[in-house]
Amino acid sequence: MLSASRILAWAGKGLTKAQCANLYWFRIFALMHAVGRNILTIQLRPADASEADRVLAVMICACFLGGLHPKFSRWAMRIAALLVGLQVALSFPFTPNHWFLEFVCLAFLALLDENDKQEGELLLQALRWFTVTFFFYSGLQKIFYGYYFDGQFLSYIMVFDSVEDRFASFLRFFMPASEFERLMAIGPDLEHGDGPFSVDSTLFCILSNGVYVFELLAPLLLLIPKVRPLAALLSIGFIIAIEAGARELVFGALMINLLLVFLDGAWIKRLFPLFAVAYAYLVAAAILDWVPMFEYIPN
């Protein structure tokens, strides 16, 4: 009979020193992400940030600064988790899913201490299982809704996003030039009868269907110890490819760090300076108009 502890153990057993360090640095990263997300929302999407959000953002910044000191790290995390939870509740039903993703991570980090052997192992398993869950469902929901079988969603996003030319500039290489021109001629101002939002290209259909196939398989492979590192690296590559097409960094940073939790080495610690520079850049770019900005899409 499968017990909860056996199922949890599919995501890994025990906790090494490197994994413990990983979890500590993921704690710091999660706080940094919460601060960065708040500043970017206030600066770039002011309509999505209420007065309460601005006050909460200042408090979350204080939690991040407090969290940098190991003595205050756990308390800072608990308060930050409550504050982000409040943001999620206050913005409901318009809450971006990415905010909820961030809240769950903060909640796990608030409830469990990586320095305790049992709690640390449970924290590692919980973060891994949560990542597997939402990654898998990303793929499954694409099958449920059926807009990837004939490339309908990717075709639409090429047209709809043609103003910023993000996905179009990448996806055009997967279809004949005539199909690309046909889609681009539809234009971003849609009218009844526009379309079809599908592409007569086998390569494009393979790519479109490949998206959900990968999202279904990769999470399952992350649960198999022997292939876990490879699955994590391939998933990181997948996220980087999507973020490169979307020219977005914020969700990608969070997702990559969640995938780094699957690796045994202290990669979150090693790569933290890189992510710190990235968030500092994004905050500077959001505040100072003269610094080129990436997209910020809290979905």
């Binding site: 909860a4 949890l8 039903p93 318009f94 809450t95 971006p96 899913n97 909820f100 769950v104 909640a107 796990f108 409830l111 469990l112 449970l122 919980a126 299982w129 949560f130 869950t133 939402f134 469902y137 990303s138 499954l140 929901q141 694409k142 449920f144 809704y145 059926g146 807009y147 990837y148 004939d150 309908q152 969603f153 075709s155 639409y156 996003i157 709809f160 849609l190 009218e191 009844h192 009868g193 526009d194 379309g195 079809p196 939002f197 599908s198 979905n299």
Partner: protein
């Protein structure tokens, strides 16, 4: 913690089921269905029934109505038919106290999954009476 993980694992299935019945936006509600469905587009139109001539609103009135319509469309874009244009109707009656009956039309634009064509249809008609009572809802089947 295990309970939380089980809830997080089961919720997306519930989300899909509830979404199909209630037609709320799959991009919201923590079901991890972002980037699954091309975003919907909504518009709202008001037709005065009694009296039949549209009353002039003035600049301030028009701005107020626009803001209320924008808020309704944002809510409609998330909750689907669960969001009714009650406030739009109340605002119309507030701005034109001599108006006794109006119809509010809601248009939905979406990509049809089977044909892959963009379809716009006036999907719902709501009839309101002064000062904002919903008396009938008509779902337009195309």
């Amino acid at each position: 913690m295990v309970t939380a993980l089980v809830v997080l694992a089961a919720w997306p299935l519930v989300h899909y089921g509830v979404g199909q019945r209630g037609s709320f936006n799959p991009w919201k509600g923590f079901g991890w269905a972002m980037y699954c469905v091309p975003p919907w587009h909504f518009e709202v139109k008001v037709r005065q029934i009694d009296p039949p001539q549209m009353s002039p609103l003035g600049q301030q009135g028009a701005q107020l109505l626009q803001q209320v319509q924008r808020e309704f469309l944002k809510t409609r874009g998330t909750l689907g038919p669960l969001a009714k244009p009650d406030k739009v109707a109340e605002t119309i009656f507030y701005l034109g106290p001599n108006v006794s009956t109006i119809d509010v039309y809601v248009l939905k634009g979406h990509v049809d999954r089977k044909t892959a064509m963009y379809v716009e249809e006036w999907s719902y008609i709501y009839r309101y009476q002064y000062p904002g009572r919903l008396v009938a809802t008509h779902r337009v089947q195309n």
